[in-house]
Structure formats: structure tokens, C-alpha cells
Amino acid sequence: MSVLAIQTRGLTRRFGALTAVDHLDLQIEKGTIYGFLGPNGCGKSTTIRMLCGLLTPSEGTIDVLGQTLPQDAEALRLRIGYMTQKFSLYEDLSVLGNLRFLAQLYNLPGAVSRQRITQVLSEYGLDKLRAQLAGSLSGGQKQRLALAAAVLHEPDLLFLDEPTSAVDPENRRHFWEKLFDLCDQGTSILVSTHYMDEAERCHRLAILEAGKLCAEDEPKKLLQPLTGRIVEVEADDMRTVKSRLQKLEQVRSSAQQGIRLRVLLNPGVQDSLEFVKNHLSDLQMHCQLVNPSLEDVFVQVTRGARSGGRQ
């Protein structure tokens, strides 16, 4: 048995003239949580759909759990779970009705089905909501139901497409605890997101832009090259600071965060802090070196070439 849950080579999908996914080479290990990070329209959903066998690739090969897609899609149905980006359960069925329906479609035997439904209801805090119509659930409750439905048949591989887009930070943390529980039980998970805090929790991360893979590594390792290259500037006349810094070729990007300006410098600058100080010496300001965040990584790998574009 291979240690890879997913392996793709040159995976490409075109919609007319648009290339939504552009020659992706992915290798995702079993038993890990793998993240897709990227802006809207970068091809996260399209990639996940191809990996689920719902969308035929224009080019490239896909191997999921040792099966070739799209040919073996049917054989994989029982082994993968898919939580769609848009809520796709039946709004006019109750929580319990939805779960029962899916249990039947997956041919779970009566006893197993009852046991699994009871289990997921309590595990995902849906016990009190069992009789409520799915359409009347809150955003976070819907998300929990969708996850419960996706894991009902105990899949080996779970695809989660922006699972926490409607969830508050508190509930998001709970949600991730559930994901880690699943991962501990041996489920491989692929999750797409555009939240940095979520991305940081993944074992490995792929950063996508315009269908292309920009960077791929453990979140910590992605941060490493940026250490010592980020300076936060606090000044009265932010406008002047910004326009002056943006003119410098050593400055990769600058982004205002509240009253501070976050400046990312290009590699090769010896002492970032001194560099910035020197250039702003005539102004009333205060600056300090800060730790990089995934957001900086994101900026670095995706928008690096068009720096300063952020408000």
C-alpha cells in the first residue's frame, strides 16, 4: 500500500478559454491534513471536484487511494467523503432525515446506520437539532451537519471545500478539533480555505494562484524564508511613508493594518530594520521587526511581482 492518498501529475482543467487548474502536481500523504490556500477563483473547488471524480480533467492523471480517476470513480464512492462549499443537503428535510437518507444511499446496514447516526449527532452537537429542518439551521450548525454527513460512512479520505466559511472563530476552533480527531483515527483530509489561521493548522499546505501551485510545504517551513524580512512601521503621516517605501525596489509589498504599515522586503537586504529606518529618518515614526505570518507568505508567493497593490 502506498503512503500517498492522492497523487496527481499535470492535472489541468479548462473551461473554454479559461484554465482553472493549470498542471498541478500534488502528492498528499495518508493520515495528514492537507490545506489548499488561495484567493477566490484560484481553482480550489475545481481541483477538489476532479479529485472526487465529479469533474473530468482536461489533462493529467489522478491517483486517489490507489484508484485511477475518473475511470474508477464509482469504486471510490464508499471510501471518500465530500463536503461541498455550498450547503448541499436537503433544506426541506430534517437533520435526522438527511442523515438517514445518506445512510441508506451508502447501504449502511440498519444497526450500523443507527449507531453511526447517534454517534455523529452527539459528536457534532446536533442532538437537540435532530428534528429541525436543515434549511432553518444557522450557518455554523449547517456546517456541522454537512461534516457529519460527509463522515457518516467513515470514509478513508475526506474533502472539505471551505468548510468554515460561515463559522465564528470559536466554533472554527471546535471544528478543527473534530478534524484532528478524525485525522488521529486515520482519515486523510484535504481542506480548502482562505483563512490564514486555518491554513496554519494543516500538516502541509499548497498555495494556489490562478490554477497554479505557487508553494507547497509545511506551514512553518513556508514561513522560514521570510524571517527578518518584515518590518512594521507606525507613523503619523502614513501616506508619505507608504508612497516613499513603495518606490524602493527592495520593498516587495506594503500593507496597512490598522495604524501600522506592514512592509515585506525582498531577500538580499542585509538589515531590514536599519534599511527602513534610514529611508524614513526625516519622519516622525516608530518601526520594529516582526514575525512573518502566512499572509506574508501568501503575498510573497502570489502577488510578489505586483507589490503594493493591497490597500
Binding site: 471536484r49 465529479l54 470513480a73 469504486a75 467523503g81 437518507f101
Partner: protein, 378 residues
């Protein structure tokens, strides 16, 4: 469990179909609108066609002028009133007064019995005269059969029968043409209403799931296209049979439609037709992108089904091209079968051509729908 190869197991397949069927029923129960349509469409249509769009005119107010003072006049008058086409609301001693009443619009017509009625009966001459308001063509044409009604042959009362009892049969013939319209319409309505509701319900069935985003979930489950198709049509077969029962029961109790054929024959024929209609709906459902498109395509099938199937116009009177199109439509075959069974007591074995056509249509429709339905979102 996940190591199991996905071999095809019939019992699993049946379970999955069952899941779809139960789900559809649960959704239907919540969907007041559709639920209402199931019951209201047949009732409203039946009443509309039965009463309002009834070409048969009833209860025209007339006057009677009896100058004969003969008991025979009474009998003839009763026979005329019994047709229900007219209603006697006035009596005048002279034709002149009746004419004045017609001009004033108090009555639409007058039936005049001359003083020599007894003599005319014996000599088999025209018994009387109809004075008719010709300004309303509907009224005059409704009275036309009464005008040419062989009044001399009406005597079924033995006391007044001058040896002409053999003509009783002729009177019965007279009643039939006027009642035939309503009698013909009700079985035909079953075809029209079922075409409308069955195609409409199923044509939106899969499109709706697509529009609401449920399809993306559904196709990641092990359900097979054919299972989904079958699961989707089974609930509507039940609904179709309920509708048919409703129409026939109403037709029988309100419009006196005779049900000569056996009930199980009626149900069998209807079942075949429902299945064929549903398979059209499913094919539409796999073509249409939105519910609106699905409804437009439904109308596209519905119109020829109403106009060409023989429901509106006699099939034999249509031009060849129209007949050819009509022959393709399930509604045409059903119209033939249901009228034959309900009105003439025919049995399915005698209608095999039509039955086979409907069966073939269903199988092909299901196949096309299942083949067109891909478990992808391409």
C-alpha cells in the same frame, strides 16, 4: 467495509431506490404547493371542462303555446324538457304573445302545438313548431337537434301509443348525442391532466436538485443513474393513480360518466401512460438547466398532447402530418385506450398496439434519461 469491491447487488440497489422514494415523499409532504396541485389541478380542470367550457347548452328558457289542449302535448313537452336543453318558464295562449316574449328577450324560444295535434299525430305530419331566437348561435344550434327531433316518435307512454312502440329505441338515440360530449371529455381529461402534472413534476425533479445544489452531494454517493431515475418516478406513479381516481370519481358522480370497463383495466392502462409521461419528464429533467426551462419544455409537449391526441378534435379528422405527430405522443395512445375501456368496456388485450407503444416509450425514455444523466458536474 471500505475494502469491499463495489460489486452490483440487487438488494443494495433496491435499498438505494427506496431511499430516493422515501425522500421524495418526505419532501412532497412539506411542499404544500405541489401537494395542492396534485389535488387541485384535476378538480379545477374537471369542473372547468365539465361546466364552463361545456359546448353543450342547458337550461335555455322557453315558452310553450299549447293550442291543442291534448294530453299528447303534455307528453311531448315532457320529453323535450327531459333533454335538459330547455326549461319551460312561460305559457302563452297564442303564438303572437310568444313571439313578443322572444323579441323582448324573456324567452329564447317557444314550442307551439297547433289545434290539430291529434290529427297530425295520426297522419305523421310535423307536430308543432319551434320559434327560435336566432341571434345567439349557441342557443339556436343547441335547439337545432330539438327542432328536427322526430316528435312523432316520442310516444313511449302506452296509453298514448298509437301502435308505434318500436320507436322507443329512436328516442334513446336522440338523447345520446347531446350527452356524449361530456362523457367523452372526462376520460380524455385524465390523459390531459396526467400529461400536465406528471411531466411537470418529474421534469423539475432533477433540475431542482441541481438548482439547489443537492446534486453535487447526490453524485458523490454510490447511487446509480438508473436507480435515481426509478426512485424519482415511483412516487409520482402513486400520485398519478390518485389523480386518475379523483377524476373518474368526480366524473362518475358529478357528470354521470358511465364506467363500463373494469376498474383494473383502467388502472393498468393509466399506469402505462403515467410511466410513459414520467419518462418524458425525466428526459426533460436531464436536458434543462433550470426549472423554468423544464417548464417551457413541458408546455412544448403538453400543447400537442392536448390538441392532437384526439382530446379536442377527432383524431380521424386531422390531416396526415398531424396524425403522424400524434401517433408519437403517449397521450394519443392513452386517449384511445381509456375511452375504449371506460366508455365501451374494451379490455387491454384488444388494445395491445397502444399498450406496447406506451411500454416501449417508457423503457426508451428511462434509458435515454439514465444515459444522459452523468455523475459529473462537467
Amino acid at each position: 467495509m471500505s475494502k469491499l469491491a463495489p460489486v452490483f447487488k440487487l438488494s443494495q440497489s433496491v435499498k438505494r431506490i427506496q431511499a430516493i422514494v422515501f425522500k421524495e415523499f418526505r419532501q412532497l409532504k412539506r411542499d404544500r404547493m405541489t401537494f395542492g396541485m396534485v389535488v387541485m389541478i384535476p378538480i379545477i380542470q374537471l369542473l372547468l371542462f365539465g361546466y364552463a367550457i361545456n359546448t353543450e347548452v342547458r337550461g335555455i328558457p322557453i315558452a310553450v303555446v299549447d293550442m291543442s289542449h291534448n294530453a299528447a302535448a303534455r307528453v311531448i313537452e315532457q320529453a323535450v324538457v327531459a333533454t335538459q336543453v330547455v326549461e319551460v318558464i312561460e305559457r302563452y295562449p297564442t303564438p303572437q304573445e310568444a313571439e313578443k316574449a322572444i323579441v323582448n328577450g324573456e324567452v329564447r324560444a317557444a314550442l307551439v302545438f297547433p289545434p290539430d295535434l291529434a290529427k297530425r299525430i295520426v297522419e305523421e305530419r310535423a307536430l308543432g313548431q319551434w320559434l327560435v331566437d336566432g341571434s345567439d348561435t349557441m342557443v339556436s344550434s343547441a335547439l337545432l337537434p330539438l327542432r328536427s327531433m322526430p316528435l312523432s316518435q316520442i310516444f313511449i307512454d302506452p296509453a298514448l301509443d298509437y301502435g308505434k312502440s318500436h320507436t322507443t329505441f329512436e328516442v334513446a338515440l336522440f338523447f345520446n348525442p347531446t350527452r356524449r360530449a361530456a362523457v367523452n371529455i372526462v376520460p380524455g381529461l385524465i390523459g390531459t391532466i396526467l400529461t400536465m402534472t406528471m411531466i411537470l413534476f418529474t421534469s423539475t425533479a432533477i433540475v431542482r436538485e441541481r438548482e439547489r445544489g443537492n446534486l453535487e452531494l447526490l453524485i458523490t454517493t454510490p447511487i446509480r443513474p438508473l436507480e435515481l431515475m426509478i426512485g424519482k418516478i415511483l412516487p409520482y406513479i402513486v400520485i398519478g393513480l390518485i389523480q386518475m381516481t379523483l377524476i373518474l370519481a368526480l366524473g362518475y358522480s358529478v357528470f354521470d360518466v358511465p364506467i363500463i370497463g373494469a376498474l383494473h383495466q383502467i388502472y393498468m392502462a393509466t399506469l402505462l401512460f403515467i410511466a410513459a409521461s414520467l419518462s418524458i419528464g425525466l428526459v426533460i429533467s436531464t436536458i434543462a438547466k433550470t426549472q423554468l426551462q423544464a417548464m417551457q419544455m413541458t408546455v412544448f409537449i403538453l400543447l400537442p398532447s392536448i390538441l392532437l391526441s384526439g382530446f379536442m378534435f377527432p383524431f380521424e379528422a386531422m390531416p396526415g402530418a398531424a396524425q403522424a405527430i400524434a401517433e408519437v405522443l403517449p397521450a394519443t395512445h392513452f386517449m384511445r385506450m381509456i375511452r375504449a375501456i371506460v366508455l365501451r368496456g374494451a379490455e387491454l388485450p384488444g388494445l395491445l398496439n397502444d399498450a406496447f407503444w406506451l411500454m416501449g416509450f417508457t423503457v426508451v425514455g428511462l434509458m435515454v434519461a439514465a444515459a444522459r444523466f452523468k455523475k459529473t458536474v462537467d
